[in-house]
Subunit: 208 residues, 4 copies
Amino acid sequence: MATKSKGRTTDRRNREPEILAAAIEVFHRKGYAAASLQDVADIVGVLKGSLYHYISSKEELLARICVESHKQSSVIMQESLDAASNPLDQLRAFLHATAVWYLTNIERVSIYFNEGKWLTGDNIDRVRAQGREFHAFIRSLIDKARTEEQVRAEVDPRVAAQLIIGALNSIPTWYRPDGLYPPEEVAGIYTDMTLASLCNPAPPAKTD
Amino acid sequence: MATKSKGRTTDRRNREPEILAAAIEVFHRKGYAAASLQDVADIVGVLKGSLYHYISSKEELLARICVESHKQSSVIMQESLDAASNPLDQLRAFLHATAVWYLTNIERVSIYFNEGKWLTGDNIDRVRAQGREFHAFIRSLIDKARTEEQVRAEVDPRVAAQLIIGALNSIPTWYRPDGLYPPEEVAGIYTDMTLASLCNPAPPAKTD
Amino acid sequence: MATKSKGRTTDRRNREPEILAAAIEVFHRKGYAAASLQDVADIVGVLKGSLYHYISSKEELLARICVESHKQSSVIMQESLDAASNPLDQLRAFLHATAVWYLTNIERVSIYFNEGKWLTGDNIDRVRAQGREFHAFIRSLIDKARTEEQVRAEVDPRVAAQLIIGALNSIPTWYRPDGLYPPEEVAGIYTDMTLASLCNPAPPAKTD
Amino acid sequence: MATKSKGRTTDRRNREPEILAAAIEVFHRKGYAAASLQDVADIVGVLKGSLYHYISSKEELLARICVESHKQSSVIMQESLDAASNPLDQLRAFLHATAVWYLTNIERVSIYFNEGKWLTGDNIDRVRAQGREFHAFIRSLIDKARTEEQVRAEVDPRVAAQLIIGALNSIPTWYRPDGLYPPEEVAGIYTDMTLASLCNPAPPAKTD
DNA sequence: AATGAATGAGTATTCATTCAT
DNA sequence: GATGAATGAATACTCATTCAT
């Protein structure tokens, strides 16, 4: 009653963020291919067709999520370079910051890394370019650190970078934000293990 | 005439393996959700409806792929235990063998690790149990190795196991079997980096 | 500030003619059924919903175009009767004037003749009545001319009228206003051919 | 009863011709753009989606209708050339045969001439090429007849051909196959008027 | 075993129209 | 007058699954 007399609270809010949030949730839970705009619309509380006031296609929705994530990723790259004066510590800063970002934005970042491949046309080109940029950034830091003998000469920067990214990308498949492992702690473990793997040799096999 | 009276050799073969192979290819290329049984049928050279002589549903097809992979995985676990007498070398053997297996069977193993989550009901329970078994195996070896002081005490076996598996699972997203990096070499890099990360501390940050 | 106090000239124009012109362009280019009001609104530079201040429905828009065209058509009929004192020359005048009008207003006239059939209810009745009027006008002139032996007795006025209108209506499907054939010339060709077909017998077949 | 015991008459017929026939009816009645596959499916007595066993898209359905019609049209061209030894009589034969064909297959031929423009890609190229072929055929006969002085020198073959085709195409908009005007008669009127228009001058205006 | 036709529920997308602001 | 958001019904098309033959 009161609500009505007041004069229609009819949700004058802009629905765009709501839609993006709903899409992130759905794409993450069901995967982009299996997710339906109906699911998104249901969450927002709007008819399926009404979504098209805010988006031009399902793919554009995915593209938008990816682009946003990439922006954040770029910021982290820059900040990491500023945070230290030697490549190994820059890498340390980058891995840690990225892991924390990942752990605190699991859904959207996971979509960026795992569902971006479903994009097509220009979108997929852009996402692939971003992926290469991400990979190249890590590889180049490893390379520089190796030149400065902070990283072992035997390390293959290309493969190492892939494995490091792989471990990072696995986070959304197993991490549960239930408080047992706070993001900072997991990020620390990840960063330490990664640096240890780059700077030390594997122990020899026991032959007793 | 002659051909017909002879009792046509035409496809007297059992189509089941063909169908599984086709499904593996399609599920890997397009992802389970986006893959269609039509694609599978086209590859096998059979009508869509005919697939149902061999499978009971699309999901069962996925389940079968996962089960097969898990069998192989179990064999590797057992062999690794037999291959060495101390936990760290058992882990080394396991990671190397698993990586080689992965690298030489990218499609099916990738489905096992990445598409299995789309299963439902009993199937998903089974696949999750297998995943836990896989994880528990690695974690327990780390644990034992830590008890024997082969692995640093600071290592968190649970998180470490997840990251180790994550790096492994990333392989199909970037590995190209084009000869530049033979499986043995990549598996070696992976194993060495992983062991190094478990047995050594990260270098301290430079403070100059 | 100043601009606002002044009482902005912004679009103080009446948008109705603009909307009609836009609709004519769109209906002609895409066909009534395939045309969308969004297209019309885009051209006018207004939101789709705003069109409803000027029209009550998409169909009404079409109806208005047809009515306007018919008015012009009525004028031409009257003028043709005044332009000559015998039916054949009245017909000549009518065909020529109609063709010129058609050739210089291809879009709107083409809609009148080719898209009017999609109207419903009262609208379709009106358009059909106009079509019958148009047809009856031509037929009656042919009839009179035949009575006066200006047109051959063998001519069937009903079918002849239909074919004459048909040739006329085809113009928008092939005429390009690029200057190669000026409207006057095409109208002349059309008129001459039509009159020749009414007043002369077909040549006999050669039997050599 | 008998029918049932016999063992399911379940329409073992091939539905393709039925679907084509239904599509012809619907496309003609509502126009291609406004026609829906639901309409077609309803007529055939099948679910909408089931149509896709026979067609690959709505457009392909239209394309098929057009291609079929064009084949018939080609046959008529060839037969007309064989039917007479001079261009005017060849034209006469062609116009008559085409008109009869049109009058006895109004729906499909009308779609060919009037809805083909909605095709896209290769289809529209093909249909346009066919249209040019049709036009070129008529124009070339007029040209030859003019060279042989069977047709007046003043006639513009290009524009004349367009008007002749235009009159033909108008047939489905007004012809009713109710027996009042048998196809042969209408075709005769059309052919005679057309030839008369090509071979004779228009009468001069009266100046009294 | 295999076919081929059919189902039915689903998908993304479009669009004329309405209406509170 | 104009906006922008929303509706609701429709559209072409897809696909796992079924089943008589």
